[in-house]
Amino acid sequence: MRWDNFSKFLVMVVGIVVAFAFFAKPLFSTVKQGLDLQGGTHVVLQAVETPDAKVDDDAMNRSVKIIERRVNELGLTEPVIQRQGKDRIIVELPGVKDPEKAIAMLGRTALLEFRNMEGKTVMTGKDLKDSKAVAEQNGQAVVTLDFTAEGGQKFADLTMKNVGKQIAILLDGEVLTAPVVNEPITGGKAQISGSKNMEDAEHLAILLRSGSLPVKLEVMENRTVGPTLGQDSKDKSVKAFGIGLAGIFLFMLLYYRASGFVADIALLLYTLILLAIMKALNATLTLPGIAGIILSIGMAVDANVLIFERFKEEVLAGRTMRSALDAGFSRAFVTIFDSNVTTLMAAAVLFYLGTGPIRGFAITLALGVLVSMFTAISVTRYILRFLVTSNICKNPSFLGARAPHSNEEVAK
């Protein structure tokens, strides 16, 4: 027996278990959770009829679309946007840091106007194609305006006629900026300076590119609510998930003994790394995301089953434990690699093209598969090798395999 290798084995196992015991829970509770798992802010917007804007079905549906765009642009994961009754819109936002600011933004009409000296509106937000927040070289945040072809023409016209005079850009009737025109601007582009900081500029750009609301919306109600899954359902499901995982752990241990034990340790490490990455990426965990995790755990377990079954075959074919282990890993690797890469590619497509739940699923799946390729293959192999080379037990059944001609061995 080689104590040096065995102690390396022990150190790694104990290290992972201790790290898991200490960090798993705090990590899990700090990863952002979505509306379905944690709840968020429930806002009710009420449309108000004004002389120039009638509240009708069409206006409400258009408003829902615009609100949807605004919320998505804020980068919030899987919000709920829903029409309520005739003239209200429910918006539910998952844990926003600064709900007041976000809410204030949702209800803004965001009517952009360009006026000439005489105060006549020459063009509006409809002439905009795109708007972005950018930082100038001096650190000043500005909002760029990119006009449509028609809008560019109008703007060229406006500036041409007003050289040396002042024009005004207004948002919801308030003057954003009132520059003096030095020369005609014909490039179809302009910019608005004067934002306090980058965040403000970003918000203004979002408002401008999402378009102006066809009706006036007022925030009628705003409160925090629990998870849409229901607290009861969530609590039960967390337990159920735990039972499911415990079953997998037990299964690996019973069928593959020491190898299964090492695979279980690798799964603990997998959980830690996945949570840490999600936290680092500031990703939001939702139920579809959990589906992605379930699939990637399934694939991680499958990877270990594949490796250990190969190992068994190699031992049966008469190899020594150590060489059977290496052969098992390298032969199973091709299989695991192909199935994982296929999954990764699919996840990438879903991430880029999908929205909401599809995206939530794709991101955890991709991360899960990447992490599991590391833990289920490399880490398991590394730890197992220390265990095997420590010669603590020469009987392959210790690693869940059957020795060839076991009767002869007993006879010896």
């Binding site: 709840g39 429930h42 829902v64 946007i81 829903q82 309520q84 209200r88 429910i90 409160r223 925090t224 609510v225 629990g226 998870p227 849409t228 229901g230 607290q231 009861d232 359902s233 499901s237 337990k239 159920a240 998930f241 499911g244 079953g247 997998i248 299964f251 690996m252 069928y255 139920l287 579809p288 589906a291 992605g292 379930i294 699939l295 755990i297 399934g298 377990v301 499958d302 089953v305 594949l306 079954e309 075959e313 299989t335 192909d338 199935s339 890469v341 296929t342 999954t343 590619m345 699919a346 996840a347 497509v349 879903l350 093209l353 999908g354 909401g356 739940p357 599809i358 699923f361 799946l365």
Partner: protein, 304 residues
């Protein structure tokens, strides 16, 4: 002991899936799907109870009216997340009479409450999301076909995609037949099924690819595929059993609102095991032979 030949019984295995899917398609056409609140909208009830209640209590009352999978959220202005006086309930489409019954029942069982608002609400998942999801999924399949074609060959790719389409159809069929509610989480469950199915199929195909290299002429392709599948059998069974165990646990012990989510996975994973073990290999042989036949025909045509 001679092992049971999966390839020789391919017709039976394929028929089982085909018949199931056919029945499913008939059901999809005649009865369609039972779309959930996310797709249909429904009613919102905003209540303020005199005494704090829990979601479990509210759900128990709703269950008696077959509304157990409603969205129930507590207002969490207070310190506790477990119970609250303010409750927001979103049910599927119900008529006024049903709604009155539910509200009377809530009052008699959980104490008096004030009704802050009762209104109809629209869908949260539009056709656009579904279309976009479908497009993303189809594109991801195309990419899978390309990758499998590069690493294996085109016939493997087509067989793998057909196998996963079977699994998707079986899951959809089951939901239409049992008229189980489809909600937005169903999409994620279906995607999981696709991933699981492809993984299982690739494991089998990888073994076939490996055995193809050491394949002797004396052994028929069918026997080789049979051997490959049987060599993977322990792995297939172990992996399926352990993942199914986890999904069954979530199905049995998980909350009301994720019942259909876990059930979709349960059905899809079972079908995934079935198709990759009993159908995928035979599908590959089918396409392989078909290719041969057509080249033979081509050769004959040239000679003539």
């Amino acid at each position: 002991m001679k092992k049971f030949s999966i390839v020789k019984h391919a017709k039976i295995f394929c028929s089982v899936s085909a018949i199931f899917i056919l029945i499913g398609i008939v059901s999809m056409i005649t009865r369609g799907f039972n779309l959930g609140i996310d797709f249909t909208g429904g009613s919102i009830l905003d209540l303020k109870f005199d005494k704090a209640v829990t979601t479990t209590q509210v759900r128990d009352v709703l269950k008696d009216h077959k509304l157990g999978n409603s969205i129930i959220q507590l207002g969490t202005s207070g310190s506790s997340t477990k119970e609250s006086q303010s409750v927001l309930i979103r049910t599927g489409v119900i008529n006024d009479e049903n709604r009155r019954e539910v509200m009377t029942d809530l009052g008699s069982k959980l104490g008096t409450f004030q009704t802050l608002r009762v209104e109809n609400v629209g869908a949260t998942v539009g056709g656009e999301l579904v279309r976009q999801a479908a497009l993303a999924v189809v594109l991801s399949w195309l990419l899978m076909i390309i990758y499998i074609t590069i690493r294996f060959e085109f016939k493997f790719a087509i067989a793998a995609i057909i196998a996963l389409i079977i699994d998707v159809m079986v899951t959809l069929s089951t939901f239409s037949l049992l008229q189980l509610e489809l909600d937005s989480t169903f999409v994620a469950a279906l995607l999981t099924v696709v991933g699981y199915s492809v993984n299982g199929t690739i494991v089998i195909f990888d073994r076939i690819r490996e055995n193809l290299k050491i394949h002797r002429r004396s052994e028929s392709i069918g026997d080789m595929v049979d051997n490959s599948i049987w060599q993977c059998m322990t792995r297939s069974v172990y992996t399926s059993l352990s993942t199914l165990f986890a999904v069954v646990a979530i199905f049995l012990f998980g909350g009301e609102t994720i019942h259909n989510f876990s059930f979709a996975m349960l059905v899809g994973f079972t079908s995934g095991f079935y198709t990759s073990t009993f159908i995928a290999g035979s599908l590959w042989i089918f396409f392989k032979n078909k290719g041969k036949v057509s080249t033979k025909v081509a050769v004959k045509a040239k000679k003539a």
